[in-house]
């Protein structure tokens, strides 16, 4: 029995039912009794967001399926977005009841979303499995080409443009369009679906980087002296002189900020809607080519020649984080889309994977990478020389290992690798043009029409532009933990001073502990009882010392305070004659 809920389009369901499921799925579907119920509840539900996202669709399934489905629990956890609130200590019964109801709704909607993910999503992700003694990293692009369908075959190509290289590339967020920029002034905009060139221009000066703004209509190019903004037809719209000679550009699409790092190591943030310069900070670490925005929280990371990585937000002049990642210069960095992982590569031929929640290195891989990029599904591409390696995390324990590799023609130098969103494609910009290879399992198979739609019509694009402008985030919302927005900062507890007795007891304990330490037997002559007693005394004194020092310090501050009090206790008419202490 199927009852359609309007918020799930009929089309997606049709697609789901008509989709040829793999055998495994079909079997499961036969055993389960799928019934959809629409609840009348129109209450807001979800922990963080997605009030619009989740339709109120609660699917009841056979109890067989419910229990012991660990995979399901995992997906539910993903949609719950964090732990439930602890209502134990709450005094207010009314509030407690309200919150309990809300928590229940959260749980239900997360379950519904998980079930939608399991049963209703139209496409499945790609994969590459080795059989027998095959190894996935030995599989060549040619052999993949023999197996895949004709449509995907079109995504394997090399564009050779020997005169104007090396090339750098950028994709729109929906993966439909690509902008390529040759070092010697060649800018091209390509429709990746029809593989047709929309526009190409020659700016006749060095182009170091190219980046798409919020949609395919605008892109920015970092040229010899200034960055410029062009529209799709190649018309120059703006020259951003304040940025200076920029080496890398990044666009924060939630905030409509264009971030750039110039050759003096200055970081600029410019609001592209109003043209306002939001931030202009000197990093003080010289020029760099490693710049990447963390998509999870909008923090911009820079890799410096000193081996440090600094993370910046537009509202503070000092970096949020400064971490020493490599002994030598950092050559590139990349962020996992979930924001918890960062990959950095250093000139000392090491690639490191970092956990950004603890700022700890998880894994160190040997090998040089001039450019790094994470795919939507978490594959890591590293390019160096004429060789591209894809690393994957297949154990689920953040242990990256070889997945695929690809060599482009000898002598070509890889400049940039970039996964194409929502496709199993890796774009490579190199010294002789650009190439595109198939990396099965790299892209997100199911797009959301309201987030990024590869089949967007111009009307939809216009509407989306308006909506995203309405939802434009102020620069203050960039912070290391974006879930902190809208929460209350907990009141800082005042540290209670220990009383005199407590302090004395603490000192006693320390002294007792010092007494119990064994004294090593020394050589003859040094082991006399008197010497031993002296040594014991020394140990005890050493244990006492910090407490006594603290006490002396306190006395000092107390005396100082009293002194100032004396001064202020003077009659008011005389106070102005008190000599001010030079501070």
């Amino acid at each position: 029995m199927l009852i359609l809920v309007p918020s799930i389009s009929a089309a997606s369901l049709r697609a789901a039912s008509s989709q040829a499921f793999p055998k495994r799925r079909l079997k499961r579907e036969r055993t389960t009794d799928l019934s959809f119920q629409k609840t009348a509840a129109a209450a807001p539900c979800d922990r963080q967001a997605s009030l619009t996202f989740l339709p109120f669709l609660f699917i009841s399934m056979g109890s067989k399926e419910e229990n012991g489905d660990g995979e399901m629990d995992q997906t539910v956890k993903k949609y719950l977005r964090g732990e439930a609130a602890n209502l134990e200590g709450l005094q207010d019964k009314k509030l407690k009841g309200q919150l309990a109801i809300r928590e229940e709704l959260y749980g239900k909607s997360a379950k519904a979303a998980a079930k939608i993910e399991k049963w209703l999503l139209p496409s499945e992700g790609g994969y590459l499995e080795a059989e027998g003694i095959e190894k996935t990293w030995r599989i060549k692009q040619e052999s993949i080409a023999r197996e895949v369908d004709i449509l995907s075959l079109r995504n394997q190509y090399d564009i050779v443009l020997p005169e104007l290289g090396p090339y750098t590339i950028d994709f729109t967020p929906n993966g439909r369009y690509m902008a390529a920029a040759g070092r010697k002034g060649h800018l091209a905009v390509v429709d990746m679906k029809t593989l047709s060139l929309i526009k190409e221009i020659q700016v006749r000066e060095t182009v170091r980087d190219v980046v798409y703004l919020h949609n395919e209509l605008f892109f920015a190019a970092a040229q010899k002296k200034y960055p410029y903004i062009y529209n799709r037809d190649g018309t120059e719209l703006h020259c951003l002189k304040e940025h200076g000679a920029v080496s890398r550009l990044q666009f924060l699409k939630n905030h409509f900020l264009l971030a750039s790092i110039n050759k003096f190591g200055q970081l600029h943030y410019q609001d592209v809607t109003m043209g306002e310069m939001v931030g202009n900070y000197r990093t003080g670490s010289g020029r760099t080519d490693a710049m990447q925005v963390n998509p999870f929280n909008g923090v911009v990371a820079l890799g410096h020649s000193s081996g440090t990585v600094t993370m910046w937000k537009p509202t503070s002049a000092a970096p949020l984080v400064k971490m020493l990642c490599h002994p030598g210069p950092v050559s590139s960095l990349a962020f996992h889309p979930n924001g918890h992982l960062m990959a950095t590569s250093g000139k000392e031929k090491k690639i490191k994977i970092w956990d950004l929640r603890k700022f700890e290195v998880i894994q160190t891989l040997s090998g040089h990478a001039k450019t790094l990029n994470f795919s939507q599904k978490g594959l890591l591409a590293a390019g160096t020389g004429s060789f591209v390696q894809i690393l994957g995390d297949f154990s689920g324990s953040q242990n990256y290992s070889r997945y695929m590799s690809h060599s482009i023609s000898k002598g070509y130098q890889v400049g940039k690798v970039l996964f194409r969103p929502y496709e199993d494609v890796l774009g490579i910009g190199h010294s002789m043009g650009w190439s595109s290879i198939l990396i099965p399992g790299s892209g997100e198979p199911n797009f959301d029409s309201w987030v990024a739609n590869p089949f967007e019509t111009s009307k939809q694009r216009r509407e989306k532009e308006v909506h995203s402008l309405l939802d434009k985030l102020p620069p203050e919302t960039i912070m290391l933990d974006p879930t902190k927005v809208g929460t209350v900062r907990p009141a800082r507890k005042k540290e209670k001073k220990p009383t005199k007795e407590e302090r004395e007891a603490e000192m006693e304990a320390a002294v007792e502990a010092a007494k119990d330490t064994d004294i090593k037997k020394k050589t003859k002559g040094r082991n006399k009882p008197s010497k031993r007693a002296q040594r014991r005394k020394e140990i005890i004194d050493r244990a006492k010392r910090p407490f006594l020092e603290h006490w002396v310090e306190e006395q000092e501050t107390f005396r100082k305070k009293q002194k100032t009090n004396m001064e202020t206790e003077m009659p008011k008419s005389l106070q102005r004659f008190v000599r001010q202490k030079a501070t």
């Binding site: 209450a43 496409s123 992700g125 994969y127 369908d149 909008g298 739609n453 974006p482």
Partner: protein, 452 residues
């Protein structure tokens, strides 16, 4: 080797015909939407701002009376009509949709003090200071809709002359009795020229009367001697009475919880009472800066509207200590009567400046047909606003109301006075023997005693 790559054919993901709707695909994965919490917060903030931009509650004024409007009555069986009576004895039936007078009821010599309509909506009862009660036939919906304005005055069905001037009238919710208030409380039948029953407790004039919507035989009155009295028609004498420090100008029963009623008091506050427990108010609704003249509950029972001598109309939650909304215009003078429309979406006020004014109950609500998608959007914005309402930025915008200068100043002054009083009380308490000064809660303070 097994290999599969994502491959989307355009046909599968786009519409077939140009008349089709665009296909929509959803994926609720949180990693696709970065910074969703910040986005939601911005939406809440924008929703709060938009609400302020669209807050245009005033719809229009209904002009026609020649003297200040004293009373109004809504027709329980006809949504569009409202009756109003003025100081010069004029009674008019208005069509709210076209904001025009549909019919006039001439006859009263003095001021019309009370108006009420029978439950079936067929008979209008009016009373006035000319000591008469008049019964009128309510013109049907056909007349109300017609544009024919030539024959628009009605004749009274009956005129009952009585001994004293009347101050208020109210019809039983289920039955054919109505009660008038004046020197005493009289219970009338439609067909009798004399009251069927008379109640009297105390000597002062009764100024308002209201029947209980749930139990047809119970009515509440308030009198000039500062008392609020409950009557039961089945008993020969009044049931209970509570005396407050200031008089109550008007009473309204909560239609959804008919054992609770709210009184509009002379001391700027409204007091909600439980009829079973009159020694303490359930809730005190503060915000007006002058006497509250009239009060009417929304049919949902969750809100009520008050009109005040300070020239404002306010809307309160039934359990909220402060008003949700304040309505005022430059030209609106002292408000003597207010009504909540029977569909809970409009508020009508009648004031000293001879005009009836029509307001939206929700200041920023969209009028007219709302498409399902629009409605969904409104619900979503309401929900996000509700989620972030405690954050300072959102709270400031949502709470802010522009006040006319005199009211702003009066409110400030009142606040200072109350604060000074409180401080004095505190000091007196601190300097007296412990336990000798007892602070009474505000819910009890204004009540003198309860009489059975």
């Amino acid at each position: 080797m097994k290999v599969k790559v994502i491959s989307r054919s355009t046909d599968e993901f786009t519409r077939e015909r140009s008349q089709d709707l665009q296909r929509v695909f959803r994926n609720f994965d949180p990693t696709l939407r970065t910074q969703e919490k910040a986005v939601e917060y911005v939406r809440a903030l924008n929703a709060a701002k938009l609400d302020k931009i669209f807050a245009r509650p005033f719809i229009g004024a209904m002009d026609g009376h020649r003297d200040s409007i004293k009373c109004m009555a809504k027709n329980p069986s006809y949504l569009k009509g409202i009756f109003s009576g003025s100081d010069d004895g004029d009674i008019r039936l208005w069509d709210i949709a076209s904001r025009r007078t549909v019919c006039q009821f001439p006859g009263h010599q003095g001021a019309v003090q009370g108006l009420t309509v029978s439950t079936d909506g067929s008979i209008l009862v009016s009373c006035g200071s000319d000591c008469t009660v008049r019964l009128w036939n309510v013109p049907g919906a056909t007349l109300a809709d017609s544009d024919n304005l030539s024959d628009n005055s009605a004749k009274a069905l009956a005129v009952y002359v009585w001994k004293n001037a009347f101050r208020a009238v109210d019809h039983q919710w289920d039955g054919d009795l109505f009660a008038t208030a004046g020197a005493q409380v009289d219970i009338w039948n439609h067909n009798r020229s004399q009251p069927v029953n008379t109640f009297d407790w105390g000597t002062d004039t009764t100024i308002s009367v209201r029947f209980n919507p749930g139990e047809p035989n119970i009515l509440a009155t308030s009198a000039n001697d500062r008392s609020i009295t409950l009557y039961d028609l089945r008993m020969s004498s009044p049931a209970r009475k509570v005396i407050m420090r200031t008089k109550a100008n008007s009473i309204a029963w909560n239609p959804m919880e008919p054992l609770n009623f709210t009184v509009a008091n002379e001391d700027c506050n409204c007091y909600s009472y439980d009829a079973r427990k009159l020694d303490e108010a359930k809730c005190v609704h503060k915000d007006h800066v002058s006497a509250v003249m009239d009060i009417d509950f929304s049919p949902t029972g969750r809100e009520f509207v008050t009109g005040s001598y300070d020239r404002t109309v306010r809307i309160f939650q039934y359990n909220g200590g402060h008003s949700r909304e304040i309505y005022h215009t430059k030209r609106m003078q002292r408000v003597f009567c207010v009504k909540y429309s029977s569909d809970a979406s409009y508020v009508i006020s009648g004031s000293d400046d001879t005009n009836l004014r029509l307001w939206k109950a929700k200041a920023s609500e969209q009028l007219g047909v709302v498409l399902p998608r629009e409605r969904k959007k409104h619900e979503y914005l309401e929900a996000v606003k509700n989620r972030y309402k405690h954050l300072p930025e959102v709270k400031r915008i949502v709470r802010h109301r522009h006040l006319p200068k005199p009211i702003y100043k009066a409110a400030n002054l009142r606040r200072t006075m109350i604060e000074a009083e409180r401080r004095k009380e505190q000091r007196r308490k601190a300097h007296s023997a412990p336990g000798s000064v007892v602070t009474e809660s505000i819910r009890k303070r204004r009540i003198i005693k309860e009489v059975e």
